[in-house]
Structure formats: structure tokens, C-alpha cells
């Protein structure tokens, strides 16, 4: 049973069509990756799922209900959290305040405190820097914060947009390990967008390749890695 399913999703920026009817599914408890080159439409797809962009047509079903076109704040309330491209932490707010913003829609103080404790244990580096303005963190730490903040809404499905972007290689490893940990321990379904296909396929259960706003391939990570055109285009030969 899929937690999240896109069907024939079409999205335009004014006259420019960015997605030409894409379909994909995220089964419950799985990590699904969407890989593709610059400008392929990955960010557009995630922003449409989380309600920042409105689709021209097509449906987005989440836990069996069509959420296409709902306002962003209603989609968060339903259980989709989005750690956006470029991290977008609130730079003047402290790490702790950023985490609290992640729980903006929640009223259960005790539950929020538990979740902050959980984010601390997942990302000890954040715990050490809690009182620091988020803008003073390194890129990798900001990415951890963006993921931790997304977890604070207690989502059923997590959207990650290029968590490896602009981050020191040593921290990329840590972050990808944490993504696996979050998926396993919280049973959270994850849709992971990446340009770094090697990394993404290594931790995913299923993968889609997007090119110029169309899904080109949909297969298991092993099959995608063996696919000659994927190797040529995304895995460096």
C-alpha cells in the first residue's frame, strides 16, 4: 500500500511546463529516490506535493486522499514534511527555535519535548549547538537541522530535496546514514531527491529517473545501477 502516489502530475511555471505528467509511488516505510540532472523537475515535484506549487492537472494521493492543490499548511497538518533544497533554516533563530518551528502545528507540549529529545539523539551535533543561531552552523549541520526540523511535525512521509547539496563529503556520509536510521527506526516513508545518484541508490528501496519533466525509468536500485543509460548519465560511466 502506497503512502504517497502521484498520477499524471502536470505542473507549469506560467507558460513554461516543468512536469509533463509524472507518476510515482512511495510504499509505506520505504525510501524511494527520484534522481535526475539539473533542471529535470525534481524540486518542482516536491514543491507540488507539499502545496507550494499548484498542479495544472493530475492527482497526489496521500494515505488514500487526494491532496493536490491544498494549501501548504494543510498538507503539513496531514503528515507530509519537507526538508527543502538549500536547507532554508531560519538563520536568525536558534537551533532550538528552528526545531520548535518544525512543531508549529502541534499543541502537545510533552510530545514536542520527546521529539526534541529524539532529534538530539539522532543528531548530537545539533544538541551541542542548540543555543546558536542557525545561520552560524556549517552547511552539513544546517542540513541536519533541516531534517530534524522536518521530523518535528511527526510526519508520516518525509520529502528530502538534495540533502547532499554543497556539503562536505564526510558529513554527507553521516547524513545518509541518519536518513537510513530515521527510515528504519521511525518507519517513516521517505521520498529522496538527489543529483548524486550513487549515494541515493545505495540507501533506497526503489528509484525513479526523471528527465526534462518526464519519468524515464522506474526500477529497483540494483537494476538502475546496471542500466547502461543510467550509468552513462548519472553514475559517471
Amino acid at each position: 500500500m502506497s503512502v504517497l502516489a502521484l498520477r499524471n502530475l502536470v505542473v507549469s511555471y506560467g507558460a513554461i511546463r516543468a512536469l509533463h505528467g509524472i507518476s510515482l509511488e512511495v510504499p509505506a516505510g520505504r525510501i524511494v529516490t527520484l534522481i535526475g540532472a539539473n533542471g529535470a523537475g525534481k524540486t518542482t515535484a516536491l514543491r507540488t506535493i507539499s502545496g507550494i506549487l499548484k498542479p495544472a492537472s493530475g492527482s497526489i494521493s496521500f494515505q488514500g486522499e487526494n491532496i493536490a492543490g491544498l494549501a501548504a499548511h494543510k498538507i503539513v497538518a496531514r503528515g507530509i514534511a519537507h526538508a527543502p533544497e538549500g536547507r532554508m533554516v531560519f538563520s536568525n533563530l536558534t537551533v532550538l527555535e528552528n526545531l520548535r518551528m518544525g512543531a508549529y502545528l502541534r499543541r502537545d507540549r510533552a510530545g514536542i519535548a520527546d521529539d526534541i529529545a529524539r532529534v538530539r539523539s539522532i543528531f548530537p551535533r545539533l544538541a551541542e549547538r542548540e543555543k546558536q543561531p542557525a545561520g552560524t552552523l556549517s552547511g552539513g549541520e544546517q542540513q541536519m537541522l533541516a531534517i530534524g526540523r522536518a521530523l518535528m511535525s511527526r510526519p508520516r512521509c518525509l520529502l528530502l530535496d538534495e540533502p547532499s547539496l554543497g556539503i562536505a563529503p564526510i558529513l554527507i556520509r553521516t547524513i545518509f546514514d541518519k536518513i537510513v536510521e530515521i527510515n528504519r527506526e521511525l518507519g517513516l516513508s521517505i521520498l529522496l531527491v538527489e543529483q548524486n545518484a550513487n549515494l541515493a541508490l545505495a540507501i533506497s528501496h526503489f528509484g525513479y529517473v526523471i528527465e526534462s519533466g518526464r519519468i524515464l525509468l522506474a526500477d529497483t536500485p540494483d537494476a538502475l545501477r546496471e542500466n547502461p543509460s543510467v550509468r552513462a548519465a548519472y553514475l559517471g560511466g
Partner: protein, 308 residues
């Protein structure tokens, strides 16, 4: 010395007015990155709301000028201005939010002209005498204070400063310690990320207009207590000065707006007292230009930077 202190007191009570109006400019800029040029006219609406409601509200509070009556008038004007601010945003600005910033700016100028001319039509163009809602008089300082007893402080000034302090502290508490305040700060830092956290942008924008306009409405009443002559164009000059105050303090920065307002008020009083009233406006604007050359983001504003 006493004369200097006297100018300071006068400047402070005028500065409080600028500070209250400046908050609305800066808060709206914070969440929408847009200058609401009609904001000064909301201050005028506040004064006229007091003008028309005062007789009934004073009667309600027992008739005649009184603290309770003045408080009622203040609250009524704030509520009416809050509603007007929300309505203007909803009808005139929100439909244009996806358009280039310039479009909304021009719409705001249009709203401003509408309020000024509509005000002249509805209230008459001539200045009106604001009713006495509080018995204003000079407070005699004790003779034992030596030369300080020569200072003239009026009941009106004390009310202006006291009310402003209360409003500023209340606003600070809302912004720092409530969910909506947190949402406002998040929205001003990164609108997209704020939406992804579940912030309802439209609701927070409405709230921001309500609070900013209420502050301007309060300023309208507090001004009228000190200078009981009001007219439909009174918002132009006060609005401009308050805008300067907001920019001076760092537009988008709430404590900055308060500081800028107080500084502009004091500066004006000093220029009027020691140089000449003629130079009041030129010097205020010259100071603005100098500050912006030295510190483009204003006194308390932080230069905008995003770590990528």
C-alpha cells in the same frame, strides 16, 4: 540644562507617536517586503474614529473627560484601525501578492490617496477640534526637586509615554512569546520555509496588518490628546516621519522602529528648540541620508545574508 531636558521630554512624547506608527511600516515590511504607503492614513483614521466615538464613549464612562473614557476611545480607535488595516490588505494587496512588488506599491499609493480624499469628503477638509477626552494640564513638579521643578510635563505627555510603553511591551511579548509571533518571525526570515512548517501565511499577514494598524490608531488618539486639531491629511507628514524612523532603525526590525521613532522625535525637538523650526524637516532627512550611507541596513537592522 533645564531647557535641554524640556526639549528631550517634548521630543520623547512626539517620538513615541512616530515609534507607534513606524511599527506598522516595519512589521508589514518584515512579512511582505513591501512598504504600505497607506499606513500613515490609518493613523488619521484612528484620530477620526476617536473624534466621532468620543462623545458616546465618554458618556458611557460617566460623562466628561476621564481616564476610563480615554481608554475606551483608545481601544475603539485601535479596533477600528485594525479592522481597516485587515480589510485594506485583503481587498487591495492580497490579490496582487503574486505580482511584481512595484504593482502592490502603486496600489498602496492609490489606497493612500483614496483615504486622504475620501477623508476630506467624509469628514470635511477643515481641521476639526478633537474633543477633550482627558483633562490635560501641566503637572507641577515638587519644589524640592530644585531646578527640575521648572520642567513642564503635561498629563497628556505622561499618558502618551505610558501608553506607548505599555503597547511596546505588549507587542514585544506577542512577537517573542506567542505562536503567532513566532510565525511572524519565521515568515519574515523565509516565507517558503515558514509555509513548510505549517504557517498559514494569509492569516499571519492579516494579523500583522491588524496589529500594525492598531498601533497607528493608538498613535492617532495619543496625538489628538496633545494637539487637539485633526484633519484628513494629518497622516501624510506623520506617516513620512514614521517611515523615516522605521528606515533609520532598520526596516523590518521592531525594536529598531521604536528606537528610530524616539530618535527622530528628539532630533526634531532639538532642532526646533536650538536652531529653527524651518530646519526641522531638512535636518531629519539629512540625518536619514547620512545614516543610510554609513549603515545601509539602519541602526539595528542586520544586513541580509543567507548562508548557501
Amino acid at each position: 540644562m533645564i531647557e535641554f531636558l524640556q526639549q528631550l521630554v517634548n521630543g520623547l512624547s512626539q517620538g513615541a507617536i512616530y515609534a507607534l506608527i513606524a511599527l506598522g511600516y516595519t512589521m508589514v515590511f518584515g512579512v511582505l517586503r513591501f512598504i504600505n504607503f497607506a499606513h500613515g492614513d490609518i493613523y488619521m483614521i484612528g484620530a477620526f474614529a476617536g473624534f466621532y466615538s468620543a462623545p458616546k464613549l465618554l458618556a458611557l464612562a460617566g460623562g466628561g473627560p476621564s481616564f476610563a473614557g480615554a481608554a475606551l476611545v483608545l481601544v475603539a480607535a485601535m479596533a477600528l484601525c485594525a479592522a481597516a488595516g485587515v480589510l485594506i490588505e485583503r481587498v487591495c494587496y492580497r490579490p496582487l501578492r503574486a505580482q511584481p512588488r512595484l504593482t502592490v506599491l502603486i496600489a498602496a499609493i492609490g489606497v493612500s490617496l483614496l483615504l486622504e480624499n475620501g477623508g476630506q469628503f467624509a469628514f470635511g477638509a477643515d481641521p476639526q477640534a478633537f474633543p477633550e477626552i482627558i483633562a490635560d494640564s501641566a503637572i507641577d513638579l515638587p519644589a524640592s526637586w530644585g531646578e527640575f521643578s521648572l520642567l513642564t510635563i503635561t498629563v497628556g505627555q505622561v499618558i502618551v509615554l505610558g501608553s506607548t510603553a505599555v503597547l511596546l511591551l505588549a507587542l514585544r511579548a506577542v512577537v517573542l512569546h506567542t505562536r503567532t509571533g513566532m510565525a511572524m518571525r519565521a515568515l519574515s526570515l523565509n516565507p517558503l520555509a515558514a509555509s513548510l512548517m505549517g504557517v498559514n501565511t494569509d492569516a499571519v499577514v492579516s494579523f500583522t496588518f491588524a496589529v500594525g494598524s492598531a498601533m497607528a490608531g493608538a498613535a492617532g488618539i495619543l496625538t489628538a490628546i496633545q494637539q487637539p486639531s485633526i484633519d484628513p491629511l494629518m497622516g501624510i507628514n506623520a506617516g513620512l516621519k514614521a517611515f523615516v524612523a522605521a528606515v533609520l532603525g532598520g526596516i523590518g526590525n521592531i525594536p529598531g522602529a521604536a528606537l528610530g521613532g524616539v530618535l527622530i522625535g528628539i532630533l526634531e525637538a532639538l532642532v526646533v528648540g536650538y536652531i529653527s523650526p524651518t530646519y526641522r524637516d531638512p535636518i531629519v532627512f539629512a540625518v536619514l541620508i547620512v545614516v543610510l550611507l554609513v549603515r545601509p541596513s539602519g541602526l539595528l537592522g542586520k544586513p541580509e545574508r543567507e548562508k548557501v
